[in-house]
């Protein structure tokens, strides 16, 4: 249990820390969980869960870039039934609030996907609807790029999931504010802003794109200023809570996201690089509160927006 001063509230969920493990970096098997970040995070998002098992993408899946990583993993997972029956009950025993990141690939997926998830609802603090995974050639990427696609997906999810529903948007949308408003209009409890940016790299030794699917999702400190700008824009467009996500690596990044209007932040690549990052970030945040004589982090949320 963290200090009361760093508690935050995101779409019906009270978190003991504003740090949330972002989807994609935490194993589904609890016995593989590194223990270092756990005392410092308020929740953990699961790997992206699809209706059916998926083998993910072939070829090179990771490529380091300046202060960042390109990935093309392609939602490798054992499917929702295996998640609910095998992984989730064991994960829940750790006591860290869990957020299931779910990725419906077609409209027909929603019913059975959420139906199966319902059986594990007691273990879930929230569902994070992944409308942004850029790795799936059909489906996943399409939902989040237009307000219409977001409306449809969130409406489908909302009618099947009564618990807290967070919607993870994609920065590939031409008008991110519009997609965020669409999520809010259809009943999302929070929006997660944003996800990886599409990028690419060449393997110059082979004269070929480094990733088999040519493009991949860029994460890491390289994208932080881009993500911060997205949070700034979206926090001005919706009244539901915003979770900042993208390149958050240091305490100052966390504070910047809160000042821009985020109620919490997700941290992914920073943990891949450094398992001590969560502790360092929270120590910096607590130090900041003390220096500014602030009682709670909620006094920072959106504070940077006021004239």
């Amino acid at each position: 249990m963290r200090k009361r001063s760093v508690q935050t509230r995101v779409g019906g969920v009270i978190l003991d820390s504003p740090l949330i493990v972002a989807s994609g970096v935490w194993p589904l098997e609890r016995d593989l969980w590194p223990r270092e970040p756990l005392p410092f995070v308020g929740a953990a998002c699961t790997k992206g869960i699809t209706l059916e098992p998926r083998e993910g993408n072939p070829g090179v899946r990771l490529w380091e870039t300046p202060a960042g990583v390109l990935n093309s993993v392609g939602l490798q997972n054992g499917g929702v039934r295996s998640f609910v029956e095998r992984d989730l009950p064991e994960m829940a025993r750790e006591g860290v609030p869990l957020v299931a990141n779910v990725a419906p690939l077609t409209e027909e997926d929603f019913d059975p996907l959420f139906g199966a998830l319902e059986a594990g609802a007691e273990h879930l603090a929230a569902v994070e609807l992944n409308l942004s995974c850029p790795n799936v050639a059909c489906g996943g990427a399409a939902w989040g790029v237009t307000a219409k696609g977001v409306s449809r997906a969130v409406a489908l999810a909302r009618s099947r999931w009564r618990g807290p529903l967070w919607v993870k948007l994609t920065p590939q949308a031409a008008d991110l504010g519009a997609t965020a408003r669409a999520a809010e209009d259809r009943g999302a409890d929070a929006v997660v802003v944003a996800n990886t940016w599409l990028g690419m790299a060449f393997d110059v030794e082979r004269h070929r794109p480094a990733l088999a699917r040519v493009v991949g999702g860029l994460s890491g400190p390289a994208i932080f200023p881009l993500a911060l700008r997205c949070v700034w824009d979206v926090a001005g467009s919706v009244s539901i809570p915003v979770v900042g996500c993208g390149g958050v690596t240091t305490g100052n990044d966390v504070i910047s996201m809160l000042l821009a209007g985020a109620s919490a932040v997700e941290v992914g690549t920073a943990l891949m690089a450094d398992l001590g990052a969560a502790k360092a970030m929270m120590e910096a945040v607590e130090g900041h509160l003390e220096r500014f004589g602030l009682d709670t982090i909620s006094s920072l949320v959106g504070a940077g927006r006021r004239a």
Binding site: V25, L32, R61, L62, W63, Q76, P221
Partner: protein
């Protein structure tokens, strides 16, 4: 339960030496890792406290002595060059132990086949096997040419008469490759460049247990990101958790060749 102990520790560089251009040893004081590591496992090292290069680099351990571990580092890119440039007193963040240890040898005689600096984790395995009750395995070192003599001397100093050396041009040891040492072996553990590993898999008889190191570009090292998967007959499997050594009979070699871009 989450993992029982921490996965990261700060380690102090206490020594090291260059072997040949672009290859050297780094010795670190790392008590927890020295205690917990088992042969076949690896670790990741991160030098920079800055954000670039961002990720740790997977490395093989060539020796564990008391509270110290020895890494063999090849200068492949920015991260490994930074590691090689470290001087005593520098600090490095180490993540590990990662991966699955070698299983007990099943089919004698056992041969440990290393290509170039791929011999590193096999030297550590050899130490532990020699200390055990079983037969002392043969170490096979394959190198391109005589310019690798300093590595050959290092391995010879450790394993003595149990070493066989092959070079492509015959200028060091016998002319040939580690494949030439497969005959008569019951079981082989191999670590080296992709071309050597594929050649070993091709020339190994089907009844032989051949364990091959197939480490990939690695992200987290603890099984979360699924960035390092190896194509197997059972689908993609993580090099960082179930690997880095795989039974060659389980590997989907066609898909692996595509992944490595040499098809």
């Amino acid at each position: 339960m989450s993992r029982e102990s921490s996965l990261e520790e700060r380690a102090l560089v206490v020594g090291g030496r260059p072997l040949i251009p672009g290859l050297g040893e780094v010795i670190l004081e790392a008590p927890r890792l020295a205690r917990e590591l088992r042969p076949g496992q690896f670790l990741m090292a991160r030098v920079s406290p800055w954000q670039d290069p961002l990720l740790g680099r997977p490395l093989g351990v060539s020796a564990v002595r008391g509270s110290q571990i020895t890494l063999m580092v090849a200068a492949l890119g920015r991260g490994s060059r930074a590691l090689l440039a470290l001087r005593p007193g520098a600090e490095v963040t180490l993540r590990g132990p990662l991966g699955t240890p070698f299983p007990p040898p099943a089919q004698a005689p056992l041969v440990l086949a290393g290509g170039g600096f791929g011999v590193a984790p096999l030297m550590y395995a050899w130490d532990e096997l020699r200390a055990g009750r079983g037969e002392v395995p043969t170490v096979v070192l394959g190198v391109p040419d005589g310019s690798w003599a300093p590595l050959e001397r290092l391995v010879a100093h450790r394993v003595g008469k149990h070493l066989r050396v092959f070079s492509d041009d015959g200028s060091l040891g016998e002319r040939g490759t580690p494949c030439d040492a497969l005959e008569g072996a019951g079981e082989v553990w191999a670590c080296g460049p992709p071309a050597m590993i594929r050649a070993m898999a091709r020339c190994a008889p089907p009844e032989m247990r051949l364990l091959v190191n197939l480490d990939q570009r690695m992200g987290c090292g603890y099984g979360g990101c699924l960035g390092c998967t190896v194509p197997t007959v059972r689908g993609p499997v993580r090099a960082c958790v179930e690997g880095p050594f795989f039974d060659a009979r389980d590997v989907d070699w066609g898909a692996l060749e595509e992944l490595e871009g040499r098809s």
